[in-house]
């Protein structure tokens, strides 16, 4: 089981309570679709993703980015049992959405960079380590039900 110190819990809690989901969610997904264009394969129904400009202004992408970021709320509320918490979402991503689990890491790297851009030097190495640990646990949990 994953152990969280009191310090790590408060770091994660602080990051998310100060996050504007409507801003950060879209930015993270937009960045992922631009930096790792093969991830666009999952969003053929989103319309125009032809270039960075189109992706950045696509309302479906923005809406989905917000949705995905809120998906992290589940982990926030259940830090001591993230694996079980994401079992259902893992099955969804595997059986229905058919998302290659390697993509979870790509999105999580983009989210890290967007949060870093937002917080600037306040995103210290220690905070980065904790945030990446949190995301790594979520990513692992999302990949658990694949077979």
């Amino acid at each position: 089981m994953v152990e969280w110190s009191e310090n790590e819990r408060s770091i994660i809690s602080n990051i998310f309570s100060n996050l504007d989901y409507n801003d950060i969610g879209p930015k993270a997904l937009v960045r992922c679709l631009i930096v790792y264009p093969w991830t666009q394969r999952y969003f053929t129904s989103f319309g125009n993703l032809y270039n960075a400009e189109a992706i950045s202004t696509n309302p479906k992408v923005a809406a989905h980015g917000i949705k995905v970021l809120h998906g992290l709320d589940r982990a926030l509320k259940n830090m001591d049992n993230i694996k079980a918490t994401y079992a259902e979402l893992s099955v969804l991503h595997s059986e229905k959405l058919h998302v290659d689990p390697d993509n979870f890491k790509l999105l999580s790297d983009c989210l890290t960079i967007v949060v870093a851009g937002k917080l600037g030097s306040a995103f210290t190495p220690e905070i980065q380590a904790t945030f990446q640990k949190f995301l790594a646990v979520v990513v692992s949990a999302l990949g658990k039900q694949y077979h």
């Binding site: 960045r31 631009i34 960075a52 967007v114 851009g117 980065q128 380590a129």
Partner: protein
């Protein structure tokens, strides 16, 4: 992966001009983050007295790395040729597992995002990511 397009090279060169004067700060921060967030990387620096973020050896190494990356930008049209001796150094002397090049690259991108929140756009991000991957590839050339 893919090679650098003319647009990628222009984007990298234009963005990297912002780095001038901040190399030491950025390099130090990137190495500090690497050692903190990926503690396994500390195994390469057991000969340092102090591995804490911002320590003297960390600062010095950050500067060394950044000088090399800036040099790589100037040799962007032939990274394999331009980084030949550095590749030999990493292959035969340092023997850094090439997986770590990605780790350092990630932390450098994080620092660039914190220092240049407005300039480090998704378009710049992808060009820089590709460039650093190409540098890593050139550094790995002599390994085997």
């Amino acid at each position: 992966m893919t090679s650098l397009s003319a647009k990628d090279k222009d984007t990298v060169k234009a963005f990297w001009a912002n780095v001038a004067g901040k190399e030491e700060q950025i390099g130090c921060d990137a190495v500090s983050r690497m050692l903190t967030v990926y503690p396994q990387t500390k195994t390469y620096f057991s000969h340092w007295k102090d591995l804490r973020p911002g320590s003297a050896p960390v600062r010095k190494h950050g500067a060394t790395v950044m000088t090399a990356v800036t040099d790589a930008v100037s040799k962007i049209d032939d990274l394999t040729g331009g980084l030949l001796s550095l590749s030999e150094l990493h292959a035969f002397t340092l023997r850094v597992d090439p997986a770590n090049f990605k780790v350092l690259a990630h932390n450098l991108l994080v620092v660039l995002a914190t220092v240049f929140p407005n300039d480090f756009t998704p378009e710049v991000h992808v060009a820089m990511d590709k460039f650093l991957a190409a540098v890593a590839h050139a550094l790995s050339e002599k390994y085997r």
